[in-house]
């Protein structure tokens, strides 16, 4: 056990002596966030989003509204998805859509009978333009429907649109959209750089030498994981606190979020380390890392949030390892702790650690 700390301390000391590489990997996503914020930040415009419609009425009213939102230019910017009201709220909490429109029971009947009826619209606080457009368009639709009702019937239709602000509605919503992806971009890059160290140690003969000592290679790798976890924790905590301070990011549970970043970062580290250690040389390992990392970072919401991606690409991205970590981090930031996700990461780390030890042993020989 003691050697785990010795191994971790050695890696931390080395990182402290060569901080430039680490800072470079942090700087890249920072610049990405800054640029995206400047271009698309609050007050900017977005090309695409999702409108959830919870049809509790079951009549034709919800269908008419859905088809109205699917028409023309609005239809090109919005994907309409029918959901249950609670599921819609949860997904909105995770930032997966622009707004949730709840069509209440009896809506169609009330509309036909020209009775007052209330539509609830829940907006995604991390977005501005699309929810505004949805709300504006809905108001226009309802106005027109009221005019039609007024022209066709003796009693004027009274429709009330009730916009319910989400509990997380605050100026920092944009950060919630960008930060998790950017953080995991940094974590992924740093994990790649840290994992490459195994090849450097192999080239220098240090790996071979450590394999001739009584210290176990399992402890050696565990030490590397511990050092990586500490680095990821510091970066995660720093990134989250800065985002909270500067961008009003809502953090429901900071320790849990940091813990999640550290644990999932270790899983990503092991993933890259296994890929690298399967390579035939240090050069091939480096190429493999870039080949794996860059597409995953792009797909996994690193450069562009899922909400801004075409739907199919976003779906694929959310199932990439880092994309999944981003989605789960958003859930943690929103105050939703998922035991299953933690269990999946713990199981992956255990399995990957075993494979990693075997690969390191092979490299050492």
């Amino acid at each position: 056990m003691r050697f785990i700390w010795i191994s971790a301390w050695k890696d931390l000391l080395r990182l402290r002596r060569e901080p430039v590489a680490l800072l470079t990997w942090i700087a890249i996503p920072t610049f990405v966030v800054i640029i995206l914020t400047l271009v698309f930040g609050p007050g900017g415009s977005r090309p695409h989003g999702t409108l959830f419609i919870a049809d509790e009425d079951g009549g034709i009213g919800a269908g008419m509204l859905a088809s109205a939102f699917s028409q023309g230019a609005l239809g090109q910017m919005l994907t309409i998805e029918k959901v249950g009201a609670e599921a819609g709220r949860r997904r909105l909490d995770r930032g997966e859509g622009s707004a949730l429109l709840i069509v209440p029971p009896g809506f169609t009947a009330s509309f036909i009978a020209a009775r007052p009826v209330t539509l609830d619209l829940v907006r995604n606080p991390s977005q501005r333009i699309l929810p505004d457009m949805i709300q504006e368009s809905l108001a226009i639709m309802l106005d027109r429907a009221a005019s039609f009702q007024g022209a066709g019937g003796s009693q004027a239709l009274q429709l009330v649109t009730n916009v319910i602000p989400d509990k997380s509605e605050q100026p920092g919503g944009f950060a919630a959209l960008l930060l998790p992806g950017a953080l995991f971009m940094a974590i992924f890059f740093i994990a790649g750089a840290l994992a490459a160290d195994v090849w450097r140690e192999r080239s220098s003969g240090a790996l071979r030498r450590i394999a001739t000592t009584p210290a176990s290679l399992g402890a050696f790798l565990a030490g590397k994981l511990l050092a990586s976890a500490l680095v990821f924790s510091v970066i995660g905590a720093f990134g989250l606190l800065v985002a909270r301070q500067l961008m009003n990011l809502r953090i429901a549970n900071l320790p849990a979020a940091v813990l999640w970043i550290a644990a999932s970062g270790c899983a990503l580290y092991l993933l890259i380390m296994i890929v690298q250690s399967a390579a035939s040389s240090e050069r091939v390992a480096s190429m493999l890392t870039n080949f794996v990392t860059l597409p995953l970072v792009m797909l996994g919401g690193g450069f562009v949030p899922f909400e801004w991606m075409p739907r199919k690409l976003a779906t694929i991205g959310q199932w990439t390892p880092n994309g999944w970590c981003v989605i789960e981090l958003r859930a943690v930031l929103a105050g939703e702790m998922r035991i299953t996700a933690a269990a999946i990461v713990a199981a992956f780390i255990t399995a990957a650690w075993l494979i990693g030890v075997r690969n390191i042993r092979r490299l050492a020989c």
């Binding site: 050697f3 050695k10 002596r17 220098s204 003969g205 240090a206 071979r208 030498r209 001739t212 020989c365």
Partner: protein, 307 residues
């Protein structure tokens, strides 16, 4: 003590080490002398439990390296051919890491680090990052990392490769000191002079097989009191063999179109006769060597060690 019995290491169809047996005792420097690719590093890899032998038995201080690897490793110190150091750490931090890997801690670790730095003459540079060290200093630190825990058995895999003469002398003296303090030292090299000046006993290894072993005196006796005469130039091997067949006491160790290696006693007085016999050949260079390991190696393998 190292006891190697019928060690064989095979990679698929390639036999890297075949039926190697030797014993190295405490206080003794046992040398494995052979060209690159002869199987020296593989042998060390098996002894340090890094590689699993295909067959045979290895014991380090009585511990079987296959079945009791951790106990065997506790007795071992390994100085690899590569500079197995962390360049961005200081000498002291490197020693702390490798000492820690050997299970040292606290005051004992600090005391051993101090002693290793003192022994290798690096005390005044202990806090500097290793990347600022000269090649010779790195070699000494590499050595220090292998002995920081005062191992009973020290494995040195060509530790002087690429080292300047001054540092080499210093390193060899450090190795002698380890043996004098009772450690059993296994030293691999492809430098004849180093093996001759350093080792108490030697095994000559080629193509994975030990072709001769014993003390320097015993090995030299295998060559006899014969000099080694090496001629370079343009030769026709068959013609040369016929021509030299009539010169009494000359043994042809090796003959090709560009080089001749001959063994004979009192070579300096017989040069005129040799040149007379080689009248039809074009001799461009002559080297005369006293009886040595080199002549033994050529006698046993038919090739020079550095080939």
């Amino acid at each position: 003590m190292i006891e190697v019995q019928q060690l064989r290491k095979q990679y698929g169809g390639l036999i890297a080490v075949r039926d190697v047996s030797f014993t190295a005792r405490p206080g003794e420097i046992f040398g494995l002398l052979g060209p690159n690719g002869a199987g020296k590093t593989t042998t060390i890899g098996c002894i340090s439990a890094l590689l699993a032998p295909s067959s045979g038995e290895i014991r380090v201080m009585g511990h079987d390296v296959v079945h009791d690897a951790v106990a065997a490793r506790r007795s071992l110190g390994v100085v690899p051919q590569e500079l197995a150091l962390y360049d961005d750490l200081s000498a002291r931090e490197n020693l702390a890491y490798w000492g820690g890997a050997q299970g040292l801690r606290g005051a004992k670790l600090r005391e051993r680090i101090q002693a290793a730095l003192d022994l290798t003459g690096l005390l005044d540079r202990a806090r500097e990052p290793v990347k600022r060290f000269s090649g010779g200093m790195k070699r000494r630190l590499n050595f220090a990392c292998g002995i920081v825990h005062r191992p009973q058995v020290l494995l040195l895999d060509e530790p002087t490769v690429g080292v300047d003469p001054q540092s080499r002398v210093r390193l060899l003296e450090l190795v002698r000191e380890q043996a004098r303090s009772g450690a059993c030292v296994l030293y691999t090299t492809h430098y004849m002079e180093e093996a001759e000046s350093l080792c108490d006993r030697l095994g000559i290894i080629d193509h994975g097989r030990i072709i001769a072993q014993g003390t320097l005196r015993e090995l030299r006796a295998m060559v006899g009191e014969r000099d080694l005469l090496r001629l370079t130039g343009v030769f026709q091997p068959e013609t040369v063999r016929q021509a030299l067949a009539c010169v009494e006491g000359v043994e042809i160790l090796h003959a090709d179109e560009g080089q001749l290696s001959l063994s004979m006693s009192d070579a300096s007085h017989r040069l005129p006769v040799i040149f007379g016999a080689l009248n039809g050949s074009e001799v461009r260079g002559t080297t005369l060597t006293q009886p040595s390991l080199e002549s033994l190696f050529i006698k046993l393998t038919g090739t020079e060690l550095r080939e």
